[in-house]
Symmetry: C2
Subunit: 518 residues, 2 copies
Amino acid sequence: MTTETIPSGSRAGGPAARRARRARPDLRMLPGLHNRLPRCEPMTPDEVARIDAASMDILEDVGVVFRDEIALGDWRNAGADVRGERVHLDRGLVRNLIATIPSDFTYTARNPANSLRLGGRDSIFVPMTGAPFLRDLDDRRRSPTLDDLAMFHKLAQMSPALHSSAHHIVEPCDLPVSHRHLHITYSSMKHSDKTFMGMTTSPKNAEDVMEMCAILFGAEFMESHPVTTGNCNGNSPLVWDETMLGAMRAFCRRNQPVLCSPFVLGGANTPASVAPTVAQLNAEALSALAYTQVIRRGCPAIYGHYLSTVSMKSGAPMAGTPEISLMNFMIGQMARHYDVPWRTSNTLGGAKTFDAQAGYESATTLSAVIHAGANYIWHSAGWNEAGMHCSVAKFIVDAEQCAMAYRMAEGIRWDDFDAGLEAVRDIGPGGHYLGHPHTQDNFQRAFFLPELFDNNSIEQWQAEGAVEITGRALRQARKLLDVYIEPALDEAKDEELRDYIVRREAEIPAVEALNQEF
Amino acid sequence: MTTETIPSGSRAGGPAARRARRARPDLRMLPGLHNRLPRCEPMTPDEVARIDAASMDILEDVGVVFRDEIALGDWRNAGADVRGERVHLDRGLVRNLIATIPSDFTYTARNPANSLRLGGRDSIFVPMTGAPFLRDLDDRRRSPTLDDLAMFHKLAQMSPALHSSAHHIVEPCDLPVSHRHLHITYSSMKHSDKTFMGMTTSPKNAEDVMEMCAILFGAEFMESHPVTTGNCNGNSPLVWDETMLGAMRAFCRRNQPVLCSPFVLGGANTPASVAPTVAQLNAEALSALAYTQVIRRGCPAIYGHYLSTVSMKSGAPMAGTPEISLMNFMIGQMARHYDVPWRTSNTLGGAKTFDAQAGYESATTLSAVIHAGANYIWHSAGWNEAGMHCSVAKFIVDAEQCAMAYRMAEGIRWDDFDAGLEAVRDIGPGGHYLGHPHTQDNFQRAFFLPELFDNNSIEQWQAEGAVEITGRALRQARKLLDVYIEPALDEAKDEELRDYIVRREAEIPAVEALNQEF
């Protein structure tokens, strides 16, 4: 059922490593989630067709701005109606292009046991990325360093339900902006042997990521194996910019999938209504998905979005609101209509601390994306303050929440049904089951025991220091970091990666400007 | 769409009342929820049949203990196979009896505008009850008084998504146990004109509730109108006791519905497995539902349960775990299979404070019961510490969460779809929508703006005192209580109710013992 992820190389080492292994709980990665729950599909087939038609009308009549000369040229060659920067896409052309996007693919990790199917009912949890601040092991909000990023990559590696180390979970602010992507990529490769993401903060940065992937996996191997994913945000409404399109080309040319993610602040850059917002978002996603196939026919690509509604009081993005859930259900239906894997955002929160607000927001979002049947479930750990900080405590708790959602989405076990009914006959009215062999055989796998929830009596809880969940999660994070074992990495490849970074740092001027992605 | 709930009587009053009305936000009760979302149904029809068959086997072969001479006599007369206290129920008899339970009914409130349909897709949110402690307006955990109970009844009255004032939200510990039910019932009748629940802590207490309902509604009226609901807990596995059965008879004889609620601690009093637990719970619920029809053919009744899984470490009940969600989905399918309205528990939490644990647990449960399609959604506000306390702060936040879930469950609006698409054409690529007339016309109803979530920047949040959600919710509770307007109650009825209490207090010896219900 689960696969061993500690590579054999790490079994070596001195007495300290052996002690660490003994003290270690079972941190093996869960296999990719095969979501067996029926999906929440609030649209009838006619309503799906209505969104599709509206999106196609937008693509044909309103058009999409591609602020990028190369993309405009590509579109002209592909037969689109290009007027200035605005590309009008005929629905026939769009349907023809997106038809070659694979409905699923294997996302390859450097440890083959951690490779994952993506698409259909197969889903993965990916931690948050992009936070300019963190709340650290002392719950202090501060600027993150490369060491902080490494810490999060280690925690991702040790969280069974997280299937990826992502990339810049937090921004390593102690490095020049123009060099960060190199160290971020190396850190996610080095500290984890799960899948990881590639930076798309500029076309050149994306090329560097591709080169580093080629060192790790081989350029030839990448031609037929997705080994990373990049996120490209659209500027809603209906604009794709040069940075994102250039990064997209860097990935697609190497056959690496991008998340085509319109950046939606419902009511600010979309109409103030659920169904028209989905129609616009769908048009935007389709335009980028189509472009991936202009770049390279058959390249895997992922229907994406970043989605929030904004407060009319402040313009601030909100999380965990009912319309976000509804739109997730609808977007899932649209992505399945086009038979393309899709990405959403998980466990979002706007709270400034890890208080109950963060809990409500995160759990509401998690539940919605599971019922929506999302495939690439990003921002699955740590996100708070509308993405402004990644919280260590929340990261730990979110990761466990993903494990709980995973269990729910696995569905109902029937293999021990008759044995369970035998226990009912054995025990009879008024008895109790704790001593029954069926209970003792089944309890561990029958009922999830959350480590981060405290369910003891208040007296017990007080006797243990009256620690709220933030404190318990931070204690857990320290424990995990104490027993972290770095996954073995081929020495020659490691050296080549480090050499590449040194060379590129010499070539790239150190500058300080930052593109954000969500 | 919404109904006015401030009765005309309250429009009178002095300048203070007029000021209160002016300062008052819109607190009108939302109509009963018509849940339009597709339900999460993880069982195939064959699997539903499998649970049904297993439950019927349990009822026939294992039997159910009715620890009550009257019930045993009733069952003998009804043709059941009674062996000592154990009643073996033939599946034909069970099916015949439950066939006369109405699939839906109207739950009448003293303000007719607040009456509610229950059953099918029609659902209601009912606050928690039964807490022996509260966390008060200062977040202090202490023993509750009758004044505290009145405060919660007022907050229930002013929470738009709460459809009931329930009954003993907190235990009025300043009163003798044997007199409490009288004051609890009066408080829920007096401080709210929504539906309310009736105490079932003893058969005699239940009779008192029926008498007080007869004063308020008229005994004749009750014969054809459910005006309250009582909860009867089973002792799992497979036992119903004298207290609950006597209370059930008091309600059913007056045609008032009871929630037939097995009390399930998964793994302790059921097998350690999801599907067999549901089979046992289903048998238990069916046995009580059938008995309601032995008492009075055609009386409305509700398929109930209290459901948690227990920690194998401590035996403590857990909340928000994946198996509880799965079992809710399954129980919903079973209740619909029998075409009976069903009750579940909402926003449960095991946290000792209103920390992020409470948020995760509550939102996970809320989401599950909405997707499960539950009708009578009890414990919808305030529950924490496994029901040991009701938190004022959590009550306020949970009530808003119910309003958000309500919005989600209403489903997608299509009436402004074309207008929204027109806005997309008007704005075009790169524009923004905030100034567009469609946005200004639609924003308020398009996107829910949670009052209790803070989505401001950290700078703004700090400038406002860096208050976490607990503090904000308590501030909100105080604000609401400042503008509370007591709904008018007919003076003669009010006096008659108070006279009844005085008389019964003189008759009933003041004693100190307590039956809990969940």
